[in-house]
């Protein structure tokens, strides 16, 4: 009950701050963005430590996927926010003369951000950047599954950002539920489809728009490559996009690989070699690989491997250590398609490889499943690229690489179908937290008589031409030269 009061109090504060209009000024937005950059800059060590405690993430991964990403996004927003805020002028047809029209981006109000545990810093602060740039007040709810990072955010954010406009609240599902009972002007959620449904259902009560950043089984389609160097690069990028990004606990990680039968062994060999190169003979001793976030997820992943048909398909790895919550990079060849590992999002270090007779079959394979957040395709065949683009649907498509699209500010990031809706990153983040308000101005001068009743044929004809912007006939009509 105490928590509920705290929540209601926070929202009331945020609403008051928003009404004061201070968050709408450019200066405020820029200050906050600068504050955010300082926050990550000053606390690199602390962030790295928190992430090590929560997920065993190596500092290099922390810089690449969390600190760096946030700094990049904040810098980008800082340099562009004024441009984004500028009203967009619209050209009006002559018929409306004299009039002008523009579209203004205005903040939505008080917004709620639910972050996720796998990238607890960047998935909390990246949407926050968009919300600030758009001039909203924000309540941020970090994930309780990454408790050190959650505590860090709650302690540190008030030191760097305007605590009347940006608040952090920590807690588990009960707090999340209480937050959802409140009326927000936008809810931004990163997480699972199950909770996504709950969030949207709750939002419907208040007609609150939502952005859902979910996941899905993101496939990597690997065409048969002939050049040895290409194969090497492909293997590095797949291993990088699977195990070197929070050990597969990433919504845009490679979930499974689709490959032609004849190329499977080459692929597996080169993946194995790359794993060895990256994580050594004994990956569990490597400090370059994250651990599983908690016991629940460890059990969930172990259960996927327990299915005897699945266990039989392991061609690399498979060992785990419950005490350290570690699961070795594991490759499986053709586990049954009806097994859980192929029906659910894996979200961990297991990589099934599915063989096909012909790589073209991958399109049907993808289309027969829910739309993923991203499709990766390694190929040099331009026709096949076009085919993937036009015949499949996914949040995004990346050719010949993995995961890097997350860093591209120019591309909208978001899902479609089961992988979510709404998009962010760069200007899309700004738009996500803005309402595009059209403003049209007319003058009292020049009144169009035919607009008003009583109606007659002349007036009907007037509109017939007007709607076609047929000025020639309009003039004839007005001059009485036309009936």
């Amino acid at each position: 009950m105490e928590k509920m009061e705290e929540i209601e109090g926070s929202i009331a504060d945020l609403r008051t701050t928003f009404r004061s209009r201070k968050t709408t000024s450019v200066a405020w937005r820029k200050n906050q963005l600068r504050g955010l950059i300082e926050l990550v800059q000053d606390n690199e060590q602390k962030i790295a430590k928190a992430l090590y405690q929560d997920l065993g993430k190596h500092p290099a991964e922390v810089y690449r996927d969390e600190i760096g990403i946030v700094k990049k996004s904040a810098n980008h927003a800082l340099s562009c926010v004024e441009k984004w805020m500028a009203p967009k002028k619209n050209r009006l047809p002559l018929l409306y003369f004299p009039a002008s029209a523009q579209v203004l981006s205005e903040p939505l109000g008080v917004v709620l951000i639910f972050a996720s545990w796998n990238f607890p810093i960047s998935l909390a602060l990246d949407p926050l950047i968009g919300a600030i740039a758009a001039g909203n007040t924000v309540l941020l709810k970090p994930s309780d599954l990454a408790p050190e990072c959650a505590a860090f955010l709650q302690e540190t954010i008030p030191l760097y950002l305007d605590c009347n406009a940006i608040k952090v609240i920590n807690g588990g599902a009960d707090v999340g539920e209480k937050l959802l009972q409140q009326k927000w002007d936008k809810i931004f959620f990163t997480g699972s489809t199950r909770v996504g449904r709950i969030v949207m259902t709750a939002a419907a009560k208040h007609l609150t728009p939502v952005t859902l950043e979910l996941g899905g089984k993101c496939p990597a389609v690997v065409d048969t490559l002939s050049s040895l160097s290409d194969i090497k690069v492909m293997a590095k990028r797949i291993v990088g996009g699977k195990w070197a990004a929070c050990n597969g606990q990433i919504c845009i990680g490679v979930d499974c690989v689709l490959v032609e039968k004849k190329f499977a062994s080459t692929l597996i060999d080169s993946l194995k070699r790359t794993i060895k190169k990256f994580f050594g003979e004994n990956p569990k001793d490597s400090n370059s690989i994250s651990r599983i976030v908690n016991k629940n997820h460890f059990d969930r992943l172990s259960k996927l491997l327990k299915d005897p048909r699945v266990a039989a398909s392991i061609v690399h790895g498979g060992s785990s250590n419950e005490e350290n919550l570690f699961i070795e990079p594991t490759i499986l060849l053709d586990p049954p398609l009806d097994s859980e590992i192929m029906t659910e999002e894996i979200f961990g270090p297991l990589l099934p490889i599915i063989t096909l007779n012909n790589i073209q079959e991958s399109i049907e394979f993808v289309n027969s499943r829910p739309k993923p957040l991203v499709i990766y395709a390694f190929t040099k065949d331009e026709t096949f690229k076009r085919q993937i683009l036009s015949e499949t649907s996914s949040g995004s498509v990346v050719f010949n690489d993995t995961v890097v699209q997350y860093a591209a500010d120019v591309l909208p990031f978001g899902g479609v179908g089961q992988s979510g809706f709404g998009r962010y990153h760069g200007k899309y983040s700004f738009d996500n937290f803005s309402h595009e308000k059209p403003v049209m101005q007319r003058s009292f001068f020049l009144e169009m008589e035919p607009r008003y009743p009583p109606w007659n044929d002349f007036k009907i004809n007037f509109f017939r031409f007007a709607y076609r912007f047929d000025y020639f006939n309009l003039v004839l009509l007005l001059l009485g030269l036309k009936k």
Partner: protein, 551 residues
């Protein structure tokens, strides 16, 4: 010079088109329309004055007819969905040619059936032909024509030009259809608000199911009949019906739901969409205010308010002026002006005017009547107030200073009643507006530049329009949609295309230029490098992530 020589020719052809148009239009005036599609159509056309008696006759006939028809239940909805899904999966709706051919058919459908459309609207709402022509036929045709003209450029992938291009990579954004979408439409502009979203959905390459409103039965039936006749049945369907049919439809998994209607049903739609994680666009309403300053051209203002209220389907419009705010001092002048102009437009006896729509049905008539009958409201009428339940007509009615807590000032009015709220200073109007939920549109009449600026800054609404009402909807380059309680998502013009498209980010990389910096094992050297790269600028980060080799 080339364009100059071509232009007259184009005009000639349109002159020819227009004159044949006119004939059919006049025909509609002079001849009794001969509808023969169903019994209830015949019934109605024989009584041009739509009486309550006729209304109940047709309703009872509709129910028997419906009973005879097989019920559209969840199972049927499932089958329909399966059929459309198969059609969508075949890929045919994605082709430019399919989209164009369907849009052309819709344009043709409207052109060839103007008469029928006007007749149906007359039956459902006694909508004056002029209004039907301007706000339904022309608007719909306009958006069809625009889509036909612009589709190619809308469909083109958008190149994402950045520093990324300087690296071995390129990026673009591809618009792809979402799949099978549902459009739930409403009764006040049954053609425009059904076909406009459908045009967007088709332009974006989706398969569509349209559920017109049962509250405008003649229009609903005509839409069902015409669309079946003119467009590709395998991908575009109409399901007629009320709550049961809508519920059956909402059980299905759609790729997008586009809903126009009230907030109550909007919530239900969004909650059922949540089950399937379906994105929604909600076009709702709200109390759209018109602030009237004293520095104005009074006559023009009065006329434009009338246009934005009673000439907009008798106030039954989501962006109609719901109430007026003006200063105490200025209110009498404004009321006088409104009175004069109303008389000029609708005559001395507005209840008999053919230039006004009637109330859609007895339910809404009673709802509006009860707003007027409320204690402390009925004695505030300064103009109008007459009502006739048999004809479902309520005269243009102006009320001055009704209590703030009355239903009239709490609920969206959606009818021909116009309360005028007075304030001391015109700036106080902002507080009145901001104390209510965000409206779909807010209007201001003034010549005061500072007031305009303050209005734009302080008022949040779906759209703002200064010195006019309603006409912003006709500008296809402006997004149309609500914010807060007035809805979410927007459409019109290219925004309609975008509303039914997924913007797919595509990144092309080559195998060249791979760096080991981004990969483990993470050595202190790599860590330093990553750190150095990241602490600098965006360039550094992209460099590091993309792996432009530096080591």
């Amino acid at each position: 010079m080339r364009t100059l020589s071509v232009l007259p020719f184009q005009h000639c052809s349109s002159v020819g088109g227009a004159s044949s148009f006119n004939k059919s239009f006049i025909y509609c005036y002079t001849t009794k329309p001969t509808f023969s599609s169903t019994l209830r159509f015949k019934n109605c056309t024989q009584f041009p004055l739509y009486t309550h008696a006729v209304c109940s006759v047709t309703l009872s006939e509709m129910t028997t007819e419906q009973r005879e028809r097989e019920r559209f239940d969840v199972e049927k909805a499932g089958l329909l969905m399966k059929e459309l899904r198969t059609s969508f999966n075949s890929g045919k709706t994605k082709s430019y040619e399919w989209r164009i051919s369907q849009l052309q058919s819709i344009a043709k459908m409207i052109e060839e059936n103007e008469r029928e459309i006007i007749q149906a609207l007359f039956e459902d709402l006694s909508k004056p032909q002029f209004e039907s022509f301007v706000s339904e036929i022309s608007m719909t045709k306009g958006s069809c024509k625009l889509a036909l003209k612009e589709l190619k450029s809308w469909m083109k992938p958008e190149k994402a030009k950045t520093s990324m291009t300087t690296y071995p990579s390129s990026a673009e954004i591809v618009s792809e259809p979402l799949g099978v979408v549902l459009v739930i439409s409403t009764w006040n502009y049954p053609f425009l608000l059904s076909l406009d979203p459908v045009i967007g959905a088709i332009a974006a390459g989706n398969a569509v199911v349209l559920k017109p409103s049962e509250v405008a039965p003649a229009s609903s039936l005509l839409l069902a009949k015409l669309l079946e006749e003119y467009v590709d049945k395998s991908s575009v369907r109409v399901v007629e019906g009320a709550v049961a049919e809508t519920s059956a439809l909402l059980e299905q998994k759609w790729d997008k739901i586009f809903f126009t209607g009230g907030t109550r049903v909007g919530r239900i739609v969004m909650a059922s969409a949540a089950k399937h994680l379906t994105p929604v666009i909600l076009e709702l309403g709200g109390k759209c205010p018109a602030v009237v300053d004293s520095k104005i051209n009074l006559q023009v203002t009065a006329r434009r308010i009338i246009a934005g209220k009673w000439m907009a389907n008798g106030g039954q419009t989501c962006i109609a002026v719901d109430y007026v705010i003006t200063t105490k001092e200025f209110a009498p002048n404004l009321i006088d002006a409104l009175r004069n102009e109303l008389k000029e437009f609708f005559g001395k006896y507005p209840m008999e005017s053919k230039d006004l729509s009637r109330i859609v049905n007895p339910f809404h008539f009673r709802r509006l009547a009860s707003l007027l009958d409320e204690n402390k409201v009925s004695d505030k009428i300064v103009y109008g107030g007459q009502k006739d339940e048999n004809q479902l007509r309520i005269a243009p009615t102006i009320l001055l200073d009704v209590p703030e807590e009355s239903m009239l000032m709490k609920e969206e009015i959606f009818g021909p009643l116009l309360p005028i709220v007075t304030v001391e200073n015109i700036e106080d109007s902002f507080n009145v507006i901001n104390s209510k939920s965000k409206p779909l549109a807010a209007y201001l009449f003034t010549d005061d530049e500072q007031l305009k600026k303050d209005f734009v800054k302080n008022i949040s609404a779906g759209a703002l329009l200064v010195n006019d009402a309603i006409i912003h909807t006709t500008v296809s380059s402006l997004p149309f949609g609500g914010v807060g309680e007035s809805g979410m998502g927007s459409y019109h013009g290219k925004f309609s295309f975008d509303a039914f498209s997924h913007k797919k980010g595509v990144l092309y990389r080559s195998f060249a230029g791979d760096s080991s910096t981004r990969y483990p094992p993470y050595t202190p050297e790599k860590e330093r490098l990553v750190k150095a790269l990241m602490s600098g600028n965006i360039l550094g980060i992209i460099l590091a992530l993309i792996g432009w080799s530096k080591d």
